[in-house]
C-alpha cells in the first residue's frame, strides 16, 4: 500500500479529482495545500537561484553580478509607498533582453525558413498549403479599408475554415494528451498506491 508519501500523493490526487463531481471541502483543502506547497517550492528554488547566479559569482569577485542584483532589488520598490516607478526599469530590461534574444529566432526560424519550406513542386497538397497560408494571413489583416474588407471577406472566411480544421487536429492530439495524464494518475493509484495492478 505504499509509503506515507504515496498516501499523501494519493489523497491529493483524489481530492483534486473530486472537483469533477462538484466543488467541495475536500477539493478546497487539497487546492490550498497545493497552492501553498507550490509557493514554498518557488521560494526555495528562488533562494537557490539567487545564491547560484548572484551571491556566489559576486563572492568570487565577478562584480558584474551587481547589475542583476540591483535590478532584482528594484522590483521590491512597489512595497515602498510612492516609489513604484522604480519597478519599471527591471521590467524594461527583462522585456528588452527577451526581445533581442528572440529576434534571430523570429526572423530566421519562424519566417524565412518556414516560407522557404513551402517552395515545392506544385501538387494538390502543396497548392492547398500555399492557398491556406495566404488565406489565414489575410484573416489576420486588420487595417483594410471598407472596400478592402469586402475584398478580403471570402479569403479570410476560407482562412477561418482552414484554421478550424487545424484546431480540430490540435484538439484531437490534446485529447490524447489529457487521457495520458489521467492514465498516469490512475496508474499511480492502482499500481503504486493500491497495488491491485501488476
Amino acid at each position: 500500500m505504499g509509503s506515507i508519501t504515496t498516501w499523501m500523493a494519493a489523497i491529493g490526487t483524489l481530492g483534486l479529482l473530486s472537483f469533477a463531481w462538484k466543488d467541495n471541502k475536500f477539493y478546497s483543502i487539497c487546492e490550498h495545500i497545493y497552492v501553498a506547497s507550490g509557493a514554498a517550492h518557488a521560494l526555495v528554488l528562488g533562494v537557490k537561484n539567487i545564491k547560484a547566479n548572484a551571491i556566489i559569482p559576486l563572492a568570487e569577485g565577478k562584480l558584474l553580478a551587481i547589475i542583476p542584483i540591483v535590478l532584482g532589488l528594484m522590483f521590491y520598490a512597489r512595497f515602498i509607498p510612492g516609489q513604484m516607478r522604480w519597478t519599471r526599469y527591471p521590467i524594461a530590461a527583462t522585456v528588452g533582453i527577451g526581445f533581442g534574444q528572440s529576434l534571430p529566432r523570429l526572423a530566421s526560424t519562424n519566417f524565412v525558413s518556414q516560407i522557404r519550406a513551402t517552395f515545392k513542386v506544385w501538387s494538390f497538397n502543396s497548392v492547398l498549403v500555399i492557398v491556406g497560408i495566404i488565406c489565414v494571413i489575410l484573416f489576420f489583416y486588420f487595417s483594410a479599408s471598407k472596400r478592402g474588407q469586402r475584398f478580403l471577406q471570402y479569403p479570410s472566411r476560407f482562412g477561418r475554415i482552414i484554421m478550424m480544421m487545424a484546431f480540430g487536429a490540435l484538439f484531437g492530439n490534446t485529447v490524447m494528451g489529457r487521457l495520458s495524464l489521467m492514465i498516469g494518475r490512475l496508474s499511480f493509484l492502482f499500481r503504486d498506491w493500491l497495488g491491485i495492478v501488476g
Binding site: Y34, F119, F142, S143
Partner: protein
C-alpha cells in the same frame, strides 16, 4: 570572420524591411493618419460581460495569462486596462489572478490607474489583484477554486496560456459565466473555441491590445505589421512560382 551569423543575411534583410514598414505606419499615425482597425467581437463583448456581471451582482474574473513578460501578456494587460475602467464605471467587482510575480506589479498598477481614471480610486481594493502561484497547476487549482467560490458572472482570459486554459474555461463554463478568451498559443485556441462565447485567435489578441490602449502609435504598428504580411505573401507567391518555373534565385537568396 563575417559580421553576420551564417545563413542569417536574408533574415536580417527581411527583419529590416518589416521594422521599416512598422516605423513608416507608426510615423503616419503620429502625423495624424491613424489607421482604422476592423472590429474585434471579443473586445466589444467586454462591456456586455461587465454589464451582465453588474446586474447579477457577481464579480468578473480576469487573467492576463500565465506567461512571463511576453507580447501576449502585454496585450492581455492592455485589455485589462479597458476592462478595469469599464468595471470601475459600472461599479462592479473585478478579480485579477496572476501566475507570474513579474506581472503582478504591472497588473496592480493598471487596475489602480483605471479606477483613478474613472475618478473613484477610493473604490479600488488592493485585494482585486491576487498572486496565486507560479506553479502552473497550483495556479489553475487556485483560480478554479476562486471562480467557483466567488460565483463569477464573467470570465475574461487574454494572454499566453498553456494546459490550464481548458481547466479555467471549463470551470467558467460550468459556472454559466459569459466567457471571453484569447491567446497567441495555437495549441490552446481549440479549447477556448469549444468553451467560450468569444475567442480572440492569435494576432487578434495583439490587435485588441492596441485598440484597447487607444494609442494611435500602437494602432499604426498593427497597420505596419499588416504590410509585413503582404511582404510574406509576396515572397510566398514569387518563390512558389519561380521554383515551379525552374528558377531558384529566391531559394538561393533566402538561404544566404
Amino acid at each position: 570572420m563575417s559580421i553576420f551569423a551564417p545563413k542569417q543575411f536574408f533574415a536580417l534583410i527581411s527583419f529590416i524591411i518589416m521594422v521599416g514598414l512598422v516605423l513608416y505606419k507608426v510615423q503616419q499615425a503620429r502625423n495624424g493618419k491613424v489607421p482604422t482597425i476592423r472590429k474585434i467581437a471579443g473586445l466589444e463583448a467586454i462591456e456586455e460581460a461587465v454589464g451582465r456581471a453588474t446586474e447579477m451582482g457577481r464579480p468578473i474574473h480576469y487573467t492576463p495569462g500565465t506567461g512571463n513578460l511576453v507580447a501576449a501578456t502585454f496585450a492581455g494587460l492592455e485589455v485589462l486596462g479597458l476592462a478595469a475602467r469599464t468595471v470601475a464605471r459600472y461599479g462592479a467587482q473585478i478579480i485579477v489572478t496572476i501566475r507570474r510575480p513579474l506581472v503582478l506589479p504591472i497588473a496592480d498598477e493598471i487596475v489602480r490607474n483605471s479606477y483613478m481614471a474613472e475618478g473613484i480610486v477610493e473604490s479600488y481594493s488592493p485585494d482585486s489583484v491576487r498572486y496565486i502561484s507560479s506553479e502552473q497547476f497550483a495556479y489553475a487549482a487556485g483560480v478554479m477554486g476562486i471562480m467557483s467560490r466567488e460565483k463569477i458572472a464573467a470570465n475574461i482570459m487574454l494572454g499566453y496560456f498553456l494546459a490550464e486554459s481548458l481547466m479555467l474555461s471549463e470551470t467558467g463554463f460550468k459556472m454559466g459565466a459569459i466567457q471571453i478568451a484569447g491567446t497567441d498559443n495555437r495549441s490552446q485556441v481549440p479549447f477556448f473555441v469549444a468553451t467560450c462565447d468569444y475567442v480572440l485567435i492569435g494576432e487578434e489578441l495583439f490587435a485588441a491590445g492596441a485598440v484597447a490602449s487607444g494609442n494611435p502609435l500602437k494602432l499604426g504598428s498593427i497597420a505596419g505589421q499588416d504590410l509585413g504580411k503582404i511582404y510574406a505573401i509576396l515572397l510566398l507567391v514569387i518563390g512558389s512560382v519561380t521554383v515551379n518555373l525552374g528558377l531558384n534565385f529566391l531559394v538561393d537568396l533566402m538561404s544566404k
